[in-house]
């Protein structure tokens, strides 16, 4: 099947408006006869569920957590971008569009990104109307901060809990519709398959995680808002339950999976401390507004710091290497995430890592504390030369801005980041790749939609900070409600979809077969045993820096591990009860397939772009020496993989990316 992205014709700034003016609509009376299933209740799924219910559709929403409010969007810290230009610093729809395409290393679809930038301002209006308590200035207007990869302040925030506040906004909009009976909410339900009838997505099979009951649910369309697949690395900043299963089942039913190798490794996370670790914790990118990243210049100082004989703050300024400021003077500590992560790895690989494992760099707030302290002393008419006073005042300012993050750090690491620099290291955070969708956010399966992090469309090969929240809400509140109507207008006479058809029965039987296998297999190793092994392969060979040898090895090692998993996995308990190990087994089984496709995709893409860095694709000379080298001639396309059984048999389809409104050039932050 040839890929048709269905991008509307016309100038980029008119595409979305023209599109909305010409789609088919469903009248309010007919909407009452149409059912929509939404899987996942994060920013994308939650906002879509609320909006479609408001429009009059019958929505059934599903989440595996005990409440829709727990979806992992809740953990997003820093903020949400919007081209409001409230700061008057030259922001515009075009500039947000440009920054996002450039930040994504020219591997996203122009038309989708422009639409995203276009609706971004509306998101802020909507959220304020819903009662989301964004940070404000003393005059009562909304405050902004800066994020990486841009030269304006367009990020709206609510302390370090922006995702929480936005998700609770979407959750409240959902609650209103649940109360009205327009959304039927299924908590603690996991989707285990998509059901296709006559080629169209018409339902899902779920497992009730409390009773183990397998259920059939039908609808006229199915929407996946099920998040990213970062947990394929075992250790990531994702929640423990975050998984690829819904997206992967869709893939197996015919939805192409796009750019699986585009993964965001976030530069500022708390380093791994030991084998017991179950997850990694992010320290928001907003900290790079005030924190400066450094390692010692000389190896002797690295050794002294590691042994404890030298305290980091005692090291003289001239003996420190603020490597981001040195390499990227224009953007300094606020370079995009992929660039900052690679630079940290480069220093640590060269032996300059500052903790016991050699995998940590400093994020230091001393300069900011001093700067803010002096400022406050000046304003209050106090002595600016009193070092102790300045420090105290400065620490108060920092506490107001980042208090919750500093507290999190202190609880985990048991060190006080006000008085000693934080230690940070990159960790898997977000996946730009995902289910392929067209301009309508529909997958290659008619009637099956994919929104938010679970799809691939807006962030290219690298996502800029504060853009994930923007995309999730844009898809759910403002894009899908239009595009899905155009599709559903054909279904006004269809009537309810029966669940007693052969298609539903077959899908259910297949699900049961797999579950039965797990609980009767009685192997030697727990699910986590395999998940951790997979994570190690992914991190070591498909992580921040990739080469042909490593990727080839990863493919065969994952294949072997998968075979071992299906022989030796051990799942205690039964099907007919709450059984977390059983749920985990199904998720890891899917990760074991995705992981191989991920490595295969990385092997195919013989260029470096965004989060995908190939050691054989770097600039060899000139000002950009050592930086990632993109190959637009051969790789300016989206890799969309078609399922054919084993991941090794997956067939590659290319969607060529055309850049008409932005000139393709080397992404420079120097």
């Amino acid at each position: 099947m040839a890929l048709d992205s269905k991008i509307p014709k016309g100038p980029i700034k008119d595409k979305w408006t023209d599109y909305k003016n010409h789609i088919d609509l469903v009248n309010p009376a007919n909407k009452r006869n149409i059912d929509v299933i939404i899987v996942g209740t994060g920013l994308a799924g939650g906002s879509a569920a609320a909006t479609l219910a408001e429009l009059g559709y019958n929505v059934k929403a599903f989440c595996f957590q005990d409440s829709p409010r727990r979806a992992h969007s809740i953990a997003a810290q820093g903020g949400i971008n919007a081209a409001k230009n409230y700061q008057g610093d030259g922001d515009s729809t075009y500039r947000l569009f440009y920054d996002t395409v450039k930040g994504g290393d020219y591997r996203s679809r122009e038309a989708n990104v422009y639409r995203l930038a276009e609706v971004s301002a509306n998101i802020i209006d909507q959220c304020v109307a819903q009662g989301v308590p964004f940070a404000r200035e003393y005059g009562g207007l909304l405050d902004n901060r800066s994020f990486g990869g841009v030269l304006v302040s367009r990020t709206f925030y609510a302390a370090g809990q922006t995702g929480q506040q936005l998700l609770l906004g979407a959750y409240s909009a959902m609650n209103r519709q649940i109360g009205r009976g327009k959304i039927k909410m299924y908590n603690r339900h996991e989707m285990l398959d998509v059901v296709k009838v006559d080629g169209k997505a018409r339902g899902i099979i779920t497992r009730n995680l409390i009773t183990g009951e397998i259920e059939r649910h039908s609808a006229h369309a199915v929407v996946l808002g099920t998040g990213g697949y970062g947990n394929v690395f075992f250790l990531s900043t994702n929640a423990m339950g975050s998984n690829v299963t819904a997206a992967w089942k869709a893939h197996k039913r015919g939805a192409y999976f796009a750019n699986p190798c585009y993964t965001q490794i976030h530069p500022t996370c708390i380093p791994v401390s030991g084998d017991h670790q179950s997850k990694l914790t992010l320290m928001s990118e907003s900290l790079r507004n005030d924190g400066r990243i450094w390692v010692p210049k000389h190896m002797k100082d690295v050794e002294a710091i590691k042994s404890g004989s030298l305290k980091p703050r005692e090291l003289a300024e001239e003996d420190r290497d603020y490597y981001l400021e040195r390499r990227y003077p224009a953007f300094g500590n606020l370079v995009p995430r992929d660039v900052a992560s690679r630079a940290a790895k480069e220093r640590c690989d060269a032996g300059f890592g500052v903790n016991a494992t050699g995998e940590a760099v400093f994020l230091d707030f001393a300069s900011a504390i001093e700067r803010y302290g002096k400022e406050t002393a000046h304003v209050k008419g106090l002595n600016e030369n009193d070092a102790a006073l300045v420090k105290k005042l400065g620490q108060e300012v920092i506490k107001n801005k980042y208090g919750n993050l500093f507290q999190m750090y202190e609880k985990i690491v048991d060190q006080d980041p006000y008085n000693t620099p934080m230690m940070i290291y990159p960790a898997v955070h977000y996946t730009m790749g995902g289910v392929w969708v067209d301009y309508n956010l529909m997958t290659t399966v008619p009637g099956l939609y994919c929104i938010g992090e679970a799809n691939f469309s807006d962030h290219g090969a690298n996502r800029l900070g504060a853009s994930a929240l923007m995309q999730g809400l844009a898809d759910g509140y403002f894009v899908l409600p239009y595009t899905i109507g155009d599709y559903l207008s054909d279904d006004i006479r269809t009537g309810a979809i029966p669940t007693d058809s052969k298609e539903f029965e077959d899908a259910e039987n297949e699900v049961r077969k797999t579950l039965d296998f797990f609980v009767t297999n009685k192997g030697q190793h727990s699910v986590d045993y395999f998940h951790k092994k997979l994570g190690k392969i992914m991190w070591n060979k498909v992580g921040m820096s990739r080469n042909v040898k490593g990727l080839t090895e990863a493919i065969s090692e994952i294949k072997e591990l998968r075979a071992q998993f299906w022989k030796e996995v051990k799942v205690p308990g039964t099907n007919e009860e709450y059984n977390e190990e059983l749920a985990k087994a199904g998720r890891v089984a899917d990760f074991l397939e995705l992981g191989e496709l991920f490595a295969k995709d990385a092997l195919n893409r013989e260029e470096s772009c965004g989060g995908h860095f190939r050691e054989d694709a770097v600039e060899l000379d000139g000002e950009q020496k050592g930086e990632a080298k993109r190959d637009d001639e051969n790789f300016a396309y989206v890799s969309a993989w078609e399922y054919k059984g084993e991941p090794s048999d997956a067939v590659l389809h290319k969607e060529n990316l055309e850049f008409k409104d932005i000139e393709l050039k080397q992404r420079s932050y120097k």
């Binding site: 404000r136 909009a173 609650n175 409390i210 048991d414």
Partner: protein, 250 residues
């Protein structure tokens, strides 16, 4: 130094099972582990011995989703302050300790299995009025049209940081949900956008709270002490004022 510990854990097969405390031993626990990572170690041990692992709720493991619970040594989220169980670290304990682990107990939080309880009563309270009835069409006024006093906005934010974990209910001798409900009522009461429906909101939410079987507030203040997000008793006082005003309006 790594620790050896005795765990007394509530085991209950399902909602209709009676349930009992069972003793377990774990060894070589690193002080850098989180409490839930310590339970992961126990579960790995149980699986390898062909025993059933202990069921507990958890997800984000960074203190924000509100999924984890646990009543540890008689305190919701354990002995540390301002943290959820997933942020509680084993350095709070010492070698040889015995740790008692129970589910959050309340009539409105029935046990599902072992340490997992059903908190959907919280969702139903929110469904009764924890929202502003504005459609998500995007056709609202510009976000900066109505300035909001910074102090009010910050206070509304503080209320809105409630994670809905239920520690307040578990800590209260009356199993009252006043702190949880008060936080949501306060968030909207402090913002101009919340004024239009203020009367109905507080009446409907309190009515639902009572129907779910939560107890009354007798101002003991245990909820505030145990709240991992520091939601203050002010929220309860504000809700009471809102409720009184709404009742008078009728």
């Amino acid at each position: 130094m790594n620790m050896n510990l005795t765990l007394k854990i509530w085991r209950q097969k399902n909602a209709s099972d009676k349930g009992k405390m069972v003793d377990y031993k774990v060894s070589d626990i690193s002080p850098d582990m989180s409490f839930l990572e310590m339970l992961d170690v126990l579960n790995e041990q149980l699986i390898n011995k062909d025993e059933e692992p202990v069921a507990f709720d958890h997800d984000c493991r960074e203190g924000i989703c509100g999924m984890c619970s646990l009543y540890i040594n008689g305190e919701a989220h354990g002995p540390d302050r301002g943290v959820t169980t997933c942020q509680l670290h084993m350095r709070m304990f010492k070698d040889g300790d015995t740790i008692t682990i129970e589910p959050f107990r309340a009539t409105a939080f029935p046990v599902i299995k072992d340490l997992i309880v059903d908190r959907t009563s919280f969702d139903r309270i929110q469904q009764a009025g924890g929202f502003i009835s504005v459609n998500t069409s995007g056709n609202t006024i510009d976000a900066n049209t109505i300035p909001v006093n910074k102090h009010d906005a910050d206070t509304a934010f503080d209320s809105a940081t409630c994670i809905g974990c239920g520690a307040c209910v578990a800590s209260c001798k009356n199993s009252s949900a006043m702190l949880f409900v008060g936080a949501k009522v306060s968030q909207f009461a402090l913002l101009p956008q919340g004024q239009v429906e203020a009367t109905d909101r507080v009446l409907n939410m309190v009515k639902q709270m009572d129907e779910e079987g939560f107890g009354n507030c007798t101002n003991t203040g245990a909820c505030e002490v145990e709240c991992p997000k520091g939601i203050s008793l002010e929220n309860i006082a504000r809700m009471n004022r809102e409720y009184l005003a709404a009742s008078l309006k009728g």
